[in-house]
Symmetry: D2
Subunit: 384 residues, 4 copies
């Protein structure tokens, strides 16, 4: 693991998620440039001192020199955004599989070299879009695929947060600090940080691709350099329209990621805060509540496979992330390369960056519609 | 009452609402051009045959000739949209107060002569924006006014319906038929019918006024002449931004009118389907649920005044409409003219028409932002 | 109407409910022994002074002397409990139909003479168990009848309130005062006041009859003379078991009447606070939410008949009460006598009193099970 | 770990929970008497073959012979109930700490020797009452302790399940088979299996102790030997009364463990299915929703300590169990013995068995109230 020292948030999430199902073991880390923090984190993670590295460069160098049976197989990159690409490039070139936090880069342009690196090294690349690990998200996707909603008309997705409603970055909060710093976070704030989640979820569940959008971004905390809020209209290639709402200044909201999809034959609604229920309303019929649980009726295989326990005992966010790790582990074991089935791929990551670029373009434009940035040449490899 | 014969929907709603509190009595009607329907409805309403009129023209003429103690005081106009203005004009000129269904007209232009008629006749004009009769909508407005939310940042309002998801107008459904016919309904379908509700609610609760918007409309049912769906971005004069989502083709939705308002100090959420709860989250504090009921803590006077019974016994849609009738009756009794306190006014109705016009302009435009149609010269008189 | 002066609660509820559908008109009243209150209420109700009577005795006498076309048809009794029987007896004997607040009497014994009066006078008697007017309560009953739940196993019903959690009767609250006074209220407090609602709902929906129960009552407010809380185990003749929980001291609760019925093939849940949703879980299948509304799928005729408007526009408590009045009016118009279809009958009222008696017997007993008081000889006539 | 081979449910839950926080490592196991299953499970858990033992007896013997630095410290007992006591006794005597599934034994009597074993061996004993690991359960307990509810009046707890509604034990379902077999499960079915959870939760949150109860049990699936359903009235030493409802035949229910506590100054409600929200209604004030999350306002230290991530990202059942493992690990590290702070103790387990015994006594009795079986001599040591 690279990143994830004390004071970070997502590193510990990754460690817990990776440990949950016993498929992966943390064998080494370069957690922090603060040597004390780094050492403490290594100890806390039960690592030997010699595998708690002072830098990621040292870690990659030293680990690749180890015998294959001892060296790490997969690098989890849980740093701020500006380090994703350099580390991922180096890791791939050093022969390691990569599981990287989102967004994959600060800008689309920065991310492009990863394609070349993937082509040259037969490694796996996975992106930590945790919400795409939720079982009922897969259930929703499958129901759309099966045509239970008919032709889709509307897609509404939103990700409201409130935690950046005040200027937390000035109070020593490290999470807030790097996320609001363009050099570390990228060209966009809220859209890069959580807009990519909303975007990814919408395309994942609907199977549609946005072809054009109209975005307006805001900065609510005075003196902040990056957008902390934005609203978007969009249309998909496949003929649906919808809205995407993202905010980090919506007072009182706490990760209220929500998606609604309306088709001619039915509609679905799912909310991350209550992830074990999926609302399905068939056209002209009584609404239904699909419940998560390995013993629950109405669930597809992809959904059941991502559950651990019977209905009524809630699984949550860590389990969703753990599902991505299980799929990474499985792909490693099966000797696959490119994308790991079930895990958001580099192509998904690039599409996310293209989304951010399109949003920024649209925000800067007086035209109503801005076409989605064309990355068709970049290849494919979406999660299956 | 004019309109509201058998097969209509809203006429019977008005009759029940007007009767509920015993403040008004139905004394005459011209319910339908179908004479059998008209007569049957009159009988059903307990009217004498001589006060069940064959046409609204006859009703206005005959009633104005009655002695003051016997003649009607207030005309409720519950016809399709194309008749709102001609009847209202005639009623005002004949000396009657008017309570008119929304939208006030088919187009802004069509509505303008009502201003003149109001200026010339010292009568009351009220608009049936039923949702603005809900007690907790007044509570929300009051909390915004009192500054409990601080400066507002975001306003999200939506009104999803699904009932026009299929081409119901071809199956003999009268409600669907006139609403989808430009000659009867006006220049917009969904935006005129329910977009005006969402718009009115957003401005009423927030106290803000939209200054520019970006709209995209759709027609999902093949062959339909008017929009049945639309999504809007907007910005207010006072500095908030937000979204307005309206649909009559969102499968499975049933009048899910919902508003969320986020300010620097707190946030509110209210949903029409569950109208007796108002969610309030103060910044940095525990979320609260305000409950409707004359005995419930935390409610303002304007909210308590619009409630009839203690908490836990739900009041609903008819009671909301009845609140508007009570306020009309009170204003009549007090000899007021112009707008009735508590009741949406002609100015509100004109602003709603300006909203529809702005939406249509924006939809037709390639520019991102379309300025809100200027009706500043039209006067004021919003509900207090 | 007898009772229901200013300061009362339920009288105004009856007036609004009776007015809602235009089937009944308030023509006279004896609202209060306080002559000023009586007169003010009469005026407020739009009654002529000569039909605002100083006492119910005078009202019955005077009205029965009026020509049939002018005199009232139906007496609504909305007084405290101790007057229910004397007024109902006199009204029946004077030839009027009766619609009486629950419980029908202070004790079972006190209620028995009403049977004789009903046998001697071909009049209607209805009991105001408002909750049995809710459309989805009828839907639930119908689904049980149709066997959609299979053989019933468990019935859980509860009616928690919190308003008597403090000694409100000492603060001038008239509602609290008479309800906690044995002379006015009867032999039981909470069980008579709202336990009868919970009991009636359980038997109505399930179609079962309680054969034995085990009750424990409490008084939480020091110095109060009547139970303000109680918990009950019960078994039905038909083989189900369950619990009935009633409280007026459950802090924060506001009329949370709720019923759950579990059968071998399915289960139902309904909560009065959210009366337009009925949760149905078929055995081994996905849970469903039935929604109220004249246009909603899955509803039975009895449920649709009790609704006024399409789904998503909530109807509530007043509409439930109004449904009972509509059924009373219809039965009057059809010249029926005894019980009015759809309205709880005298037999239901007696059964409610037998329930209270059984609960008191059980509370006083050391035996686990107390058999339900036998009133089989008292006749039948339950709501259809 | 002893038990938890393929086909078991709770063993894998324990393994995931123990792994989550990296505080414990699975070092050996005797998972199944079926040697193939045992071996497969060992491999799946990443154990060396020599530490996958053929029997628990062999495991205890071999492990205790290992050098202290290599041998296991804590035995997790996840077998059916009949093996809890023999294994726990042997493990304690062999010098291992014990973390045992509930109920601690088949009967109270069977459990008593564990007291002696605890007295003789300075080891830790923890009981897997998973629900007592939920952060907001600790929050509820703390709010009661702090007097935010005032003197408690009512406690309602329920644990409805539906999965044994059909005779699953005849279909090869191993979970159902042992739970319905008196020899493996004990003297009670549903009450032992999940009634103990409801009981433990009620006493844990309220701080009260039940002094007498009135129970009625049922068997709904024909031919089943043990209760699959039961309802209970109870009174506590401290003066509250309440109900406890337990069922495994309530069609459609899925672990709906729920507790409500009403005090003179406020009320709390928590439901396991939605574990990250705690409803608090202060007397005379607006209801509040406390939300789980390390960054959420209003939470006590004990609650925050049991959370991993910020609000809005749900933690669930596995995290609740993991909290117990973390507390066990901490107590081991600190060299404690007896009970581990935060973990249900042997005394809690004995009290649970006394509850089951009291329920069985009451069910067999015609008396209304049965006194709680006296185990005051058994010592103390409840979770702090």
């Amino acid at each position: 693991m690279i990143g994830g020292g004390e004071g970070a948030f997502i590193g510990q999430v990754h460690r817990m998620a990776a440990a949950l199902d016993g498929e992966l073991e943390l064998v080494c880390g370069a957690f922090s440039r603060d040597m004390d923090n780094n050492a403490r984190t290594g100890v806390r993670c039960g690592l030997a001192a010699e595998r708690t590295y002072a830098s990621w460069e040292e870690m990659l160098a030293t680990e690749s020199a180890l015998p294959e049976s001892q060296r790490m197989e997969l690098v989890a990159i849980v740093t701020p955004n500006h380090l994703h690409v350099p580390i991922a490039l180096a890791a791939l070139q050093a022969g390691f599989h990569v599981f990287c936090e989102k967004p994959v880069a600060r800008t689309l342009e920065e991310a492009l070299p990863l394609q070349q690196a993937m082509a040259e090294n037969q490694r796996l690349f996975g992106l930590a879009h945790t919400y795409l690990g939720y079982p009922l998200v897969w259930q929703a996707r499958e129901m759309v695929r099966q045509g239970k909603l008919g032709r889709l008309r509307k897609i509404h997705v939103e990700y409201p947060q409130g935690w950046l409603g005040t200027k937390l970055e000035d109070t020593g909060n490290r999470q807030a600090a790097w996320r609001t710093d363009p050099a570390l976070s990228g060209a966009s704030g809220a859209m890069g940080d959580i807009g990519t989640h909303a975007f990814g979820l919408a395309e994942f569940v609907s199977g549609h691709q946005i072809k054009q959008l109209c975005a307006t971004l805001s900065i609510h905390a005075e003196g902040r350099a990056l957008d902390d809020d934005g609203d978007i209209l969009f249309r998909t290639k496949e003929g649906a329209s919808g809205t995407l709402i993202v905010s980090q200044v919506s007072t009182g909201e706490d990760n209220g990621l929500k998606i609604r999809v309306y088709g001619e034959q039915g509609a679905l609604e799912w909310v991350q805060r209550d992830p074990n229920r999926l609302y399905f309303t068939p056209q002209g019929d009584v609404p239904q509540i699909l419940r998560a649980g390995i013993d629950q009726p109405g669930l597809c295989e992809a959904s059941i496979d991502r559950l651990r326990i019977p209905g009524g005992h809630p699984e949550g966010y860590l389990e969703a992330m753990a599902n991505l790790y299980v799929d990474m582990a499985q792909a490693i074991r099966q000797g696959q390369h490119g994308s790991a089935p079930g895990v958001p791929s580099l192509a998904d990551g690039l599409r996310g960056m293209a989304f951010v670029q399109t949003v920024l373009d649209s925000h800067a434009s007086d035209a109503k519609w801005t076409p989605f940035v064309d990355i068709s040449q970049i290849g494919s490899g979406r999660a299956q």
